[in-house]
Symmetry: D2
Subunit: 360 residues, 4 copies
């Protein structure tokens, strides 16, 4: 009887603390693109239910605070180092995080990490309805089961043990042929895999970037160069179904260490949405002054194609830049051709862009 | 001959450095209000042409970087401590800053500080066409001249020598009667004058807040609580004439140490524009969850009027807040009555506001 | 067989990530005082083994990174909200954190929170050898047991339910008489309890300040005003025994929101150790210039006692301040009397200090 | 009469503002090395008296705040773009800055920039007693004069117009032969000149790095990677004479974008002074844990020489790092050989270092 009273008090205490810590959200600024909402997603993270170090709801509080829209908790199925204290329950982390997610308008996707020796390495299956059937020793049976549940499957951190062990192998060939492999992590936490990037381009795999976070997130330090690795998904709306549709259609871009990595159409659309060139506000002789606004989180680096000036433009995140260019008085200043050095449409392949100066 | 070449090189060097330092601008986020643009203005600043420590163009570079739209350089007319090295030229600072201002789309207003013993103290006249005629020993003649030039005149830092010397005096009475005094600095740099605030309310003087900056600006450190003191002007458009119209009409708000100080209509309009309440995104029983977005630079502090909860809401600048409130299932959640503790419509008088929850 | 291989790989992965996140430590700058080391301690924190949200080792990684020397994990004995997934094991969090602590040279003290309705409220017992015997319904039996284990016991967050319920009660009287209550949290997380502070002074209870952290720590944001609430312990050496000795002797100071709260001897010693006044480096007439260095984490605020100048001195943390004072040419400048406004030796009672200018 | 009163008031105002802005100093942390004080020096900066944008005293206020010990104001002799408003007075900036420097214990060196077309480019002469005699069209006569005044002369930003125009030329050969050229800027503001670095090594020229600052300093943003470019001088004491002695003896290191550039003896001494390895605090099997403290402003990057581990060590500025290494139980752990990637003793030539683990 006494103890029950104590419990109630405790609950109040906890929820008070949780509320205080989790109330404020800093949006991640990547604008929507024509036809799609730009959703900030992390499809790979762990909790105490495998080898992560936080209770599942923490992943939701972090997502809220850090401006994410969508997360998938993907604990290891086979690797359960806390088992002695916390018996294995594959579906439990999702269950524990579901209500906190609803309360914060975070979409929560049920997922799991299929954890095998390398090769074949680790794979995530997301949009699962029940993880238990995937807990089996037969490698291919796991992916049969994932397919039956209409999961989206991707190869995790292919190069984490070096490029040699990260090479495309027979397992991947088989899964791809069976339409049981759909995407690939080009980036994971602080790693970029050029080789995986190349596979994504050649084999038309969907590009993903995830945090693979095990520790608590240290979000206090977000800057253009120091942020959570994540995937932008261009979805028709903010629903689980629309995210699934967008993923299978490949409409993603990876945000990694001040770079966006993706296909040409998505990156071009994001550049156009993010970089706003205003009409010239002043002219003196054949020189005009123009404001350029960068509405996204990237410190964008531009390099001139050809001899014109400026040769380099540095557009800091969420800031406005003063551009001074030559433009003969009677003509409209033409568009300026640049390479967006941190918009990558392939390994070492920056996106070509044009800054078009609107008429005054 | 040689020397001329040298000069040219030097010019290139200087402009290169200036460009690098002054290219990037961080906007100050206060949204427009219905019918008006919200212009960020500083009407009081100094250069080496009186007792300031920077060349006049620096005031423009600072304004650009720090997101200001409008500045007035207001060097002391009578106080010229650099005279021995730099002979007095009252109109020269404006002249030197004019081109840099045009290039950066900063509106530059010509002004001057009439600098007398206290009382009567210092007064700024802005929108002047020629400062020289104001350089005269006859106190009242100065303001006659300012009126002839259709200047807007305000009393600077009334309480800087303490409330005793900052009391309303016969000089102010005379100037006000002659319509030669229009505004008053409620805030100057790091000082707030409650007494001046009271005068503004009682005598219907336009409220101003300015930096009165003499040193270079240390803008690297802007936060909600540590920012340049300035005046928001609600103008029909971004032109000198529209600013003058808005000033004479009294449409201002002072941004000072995480507070907005002004008249009720302007503060209410800004609160409504800045605080966006979204429809509830989740309901459980009679509890609903609602996102509240703060689109301005203020860390807004709300205190509940009456017994409801939450008793206090802290809405950080440019962030989103998760509000959990009780709302019976069938009824629309009502508006919630709060005091906006850092929106002051008089000394110690916070603005009453309502958070209205839109239907889902 | 296969699975074992997988486990090994996982371990490598986890330890790699843990290492990367936990390698760097930022010391907390409070200098040692004569005769004692100044240890930074947090004696109140939670893990998933009660209502906290992190695995126990996380508390060690946080302590390392944030510059702590000593922590006690003090999970609730009676309040076990994760019990359904994680069966109760009172001694387990200490066991899981022990090795990570040894590797990081963090002293780990075994503790527990005795969690009852208010009054009598919650109490921490630390330096326990076995927590299980304290898991009993008989309130006084718990503290008998703690005493048998030579624990140091303190009253947690006395005012967390308001001053009415935080009043000194018969339970505390009884425990104190039996020498089973030794200290009191004057500060807990973001709360300061003036009433508890008064009790500490009157009843000679040891003053403590703790984080009571449940969520992951958000250490990315430490500033003079935004830091973990903790207890400085002035110990003869950095060992468990020396900490126990220092606690029972009452040699503590609480660091809370840019204040130090403690007894007069400890605060005076810390002020003297932290504030270094240099000999004057320049004289002009009867004015001398002196450098004052603040070697601690506090932004120290001084207010002159009597009429001299400066009336206020603001010494930012870990910075040097330029003091200009009047000092007749032939005499040694005297010491200057100030109140250290954020060194509190009682509620609203600042420490009196003297700045003594050494001879040149 | 009236006006005089006004002036006095103004002076009070100005000095009040100046004091408030300039009181607090943040030391730059580079420890002293055996036998020498480590002085933080900037030997190249401008004021309104040439093409700079601040009054001379501002350079002193900046130096104080930013932790510098020594500055030389070096306005262009020949390039005087403000001449129309501010008549040329070469010795005046030094005169105006002298008192503020004394009050802040900043050593102020009189200097000037000899500003010619490139080649031969710009050269600084410092420790001058009178600049006027250097204002002559005859290039070599300038340096004769500088030599007569026992000046230290260095070549400024040799590569600022590209490596072609930055090549060693006949002017430099002649000056060097006459002992009228002593040093070279390897770094200037945001530029590093590999070619100049090579000349310094080959011709035994003293290496310098300076801010060449024209605008106000934006010190609010100092980080390991974003700081003022400057020269560490290893001097027997903090006096003008000792700095001169140290410069002619070549005891310098350039701090530039998180790198130290210098000769081997100075860099090795600084590394040893800055990086403190503690005795192991824990052993488990053949693994020991060791704390390594970095007491300087550099984020130090170490790369293992040979196969041992860790292969890379990142020691953030003013932080402590946890090192885990293999060390057989009976033997003392040996020293670990690394390259300090950001201690450069020649172009692309990192300093080899050893981390020696002291006995427990």
């Amino acid at each position: 009887m006494k103890r029950r009273v104590v419990f109630t008090i405790g609950l109040v205490l906890l929820s008070g603390l949780a509320t205080a810590a989790a109330q404020v959200r800093q949006e991640i600024q990547f604008p929507d693109v024509p036809g799609y909402e730009t959703l900030k997603c992390d499809f790979h993270m762990h909790t105490v239910f495998s080898d992560g170090l936080v209770w599942p709801d923490v992943r939701v509080y972090e997502a809220w605070r850090e401006g994410l829209d969508v997360i998938a908790i993907t604990d290891h199925i086979e690797y359960q180092p806390h088992q002695q204290d916390l018996p294995t329950k594959h579906n439990r982390p999702h269950e524990l995080a579901a209500n906190p997610a609803r309360e914060r308008d975070i979409l929560l996707i049920k997922g799991a990490e299929v954890t095998r020796d390398t090769p074949p390495g680790h794979h995530n299956a997301i949009f699962l309805s029940d993880i238990d059937p995937l807990d089996t020793d037969d490698f291919y049976a796991v992916f049969e089961q994932a397919q039956r549940q209409q999961a989206f499957v991707f190869w995790n951190h292919p190069g984490w043990k070096g490029p040699e062990l990260g090479r495309w192998g027979e397992h991947q060939t088989t899964l791809l042929a069976r339409k049981q492999l759909h995407g690939i992590e080009v980036c994971n936490a602080n790693d970029y895999y050029a080789q995986a990037h190349q596979y994504a381009v050649e084999k038309n795999l969907v590009m993903l970037g995830d945090s693979d976070i095990h520790h608590p997130s240290r979000e206090g330090e977000r800057t253009a160069r120091n942020h959570r690795t994540l995937t932008l998904v261009f979805a028709k709306e903010k629903t689980i179904d629309a995210i699934r549709e967008a993923l299978f259609a490949g409409r993603t871009a990876v945000w990694y260490q001040n770079q966006l990595i993706g296909r040409e159409p998505e990156l071009a659309a994001m550049f156009t949405a993010a970089v706003q060139v205003e009409p010239p506000h002043h002219r003196a002789g054949d020189t005009v002054w123009v404001k350029v606004e960068n509405r996204c989180e990237l410190d964008i680096e531009l390099e001139r194609i050809g001899p014109g000036r400026p040769a380099r433009i540095h557009l800091p995140a969420r800031a406005c830049y003063l551009l001074r260019i030559k433009a003969p008085a009677k003509e409209q200043p033409e568009g300026l051709s640049y390479r967006a050095l941190n918009f990558l449409i392939g390994p070492d392949q920056p996106l070509p862009v044009r800054l078009v100066i609107p008429p005054p």
